[in-house]
């Protein structure tokens, strides 16, 4: 009997300890999974100390192409690439006006990229965030420039006919919202320089 009571007392204290530290251990877990991914990435290319708008665009295009291929786990990885690119962004070469626009889009780009990164098994949810991400990217490119020719495409069918836009590095239409189902649905609305 005594043993039981002692056992319960120990159990209860452990529980209360868990309760307080649950936030921290979650954070630690997130950090761990992040670092695993970054380290596997460093095998392919040396990690850059700072990144530019181009790296963010590259991450976005990587996500776009993953969604074209209906590949949620690649899209999730691209989300992580984008988050790192935004975090390490070197804004020193931007004008004041550009800095201001960057500050306004940066946290939303990260938030949308983050949701994509943790929803590798829910591609339709990724596509919802990709649509919002596109709006951020469009405004970023308009303000800071693309450094390459990009195409702003429109798909009238996505979202029950409400339509949605995306940015592509190629002129040919490859639809990231409908993927294989309707690969060539859409048209170029604008060329971005």
């Amino acid at each position: 009997m005594k043993n039981i009571i002692i056992g319960i007392a120990v159990f209860a204290t452990t529980l209360s300890a868990c309760n307080n530290s649950s936030d921290k251990s979650n954070e630690a877990k997130n950090k761990n999974s992040d670092s695993v991914i970054t380290s596997s990435k460093t095998n392919q290319e040396p990690t850059k100390v700072t990144t530019s708008v181009k790296d963010i665009i590259d991450g976005y295009l990587q996500m776009k192409n993953a969604l074209v291929n209906d590949n949620g786990s690649d899209a999730a990885n691209a989300g992580k690439t984008i988050m790192t690119a935004v975090d390490k962004m070197d804004t020193s070469s931007l004008s004041d006006q550009q800095k201001k626009s960057f500050a306004d889009v940066a946290d939303d780009i990260k938030e949308n990229a983050q949701h994509c990164s943790v929803n590798g098994n829910k591609i339709e949810h990724q596509r919802e965030h990709f649509e919002m991400l596109t709006q951020d990217m469009y405004d970023l490119v308009k303000s800071a420039g693309a450094g390459q020719t990009l195409y702003y495409d429109h798909c009238p069918m996505y979202n029950n006919g409400k339509g949605a836009n995306w940015i592509s590095e190629i002129k040919e239409i490859k639809n990231p919202y409908l993927g294989k189902k309707m690969l060539t649905c859409g048209s170029v609305k604008e060329a971005l320089k």
Binding site: I4, I8, A12, D23, V105, D107, E128, Q135
Partner: protein, 156 residues
Amino acid sequence: MKLIKKILLAILIVLVAIQFIQPGKNNSNEILPTDISKQFSIPESVQAVLKTSCYDCHSNNTRYPWYSFIQPGAWWMASHIKNGKADLNFSEFGSYSTHKQQSKLKSIANTINDGSMPLSAYTIIHNTAKLSKENKALVIDWATKMKDSLSQKIKL
């Protein structure tokens, strides 16, 4: 038989013991200057729906239901509040960048439209938080219009 009695007793005592471990409560009662109602015009009808169906998990003021005073209900509620506020906090909506506000408004319309919000685990217990067809349309319409007017602002 004796063993079963001991185990039952142990479970009972554990249940009693965890009642003493209560997570901190999320009700500041103060309306921050960043509160969505301080920065945007929200029709009263929309505000009422948001308060009833969303604020328990997406604001700094939770109206705690009875089961949240009983463990493990309190943990369950606390984890919803923590994750819910991380994604969307109406009490701090005004501190978001314009782009983020825009995205959140779109997400609000999306989640209501596809029925993923309010969480069904919650509406099972909180019948009043369930959204009627009219209330869904009301909030979606408001969120979409708000979003469009913010997009307009960004373009200028």
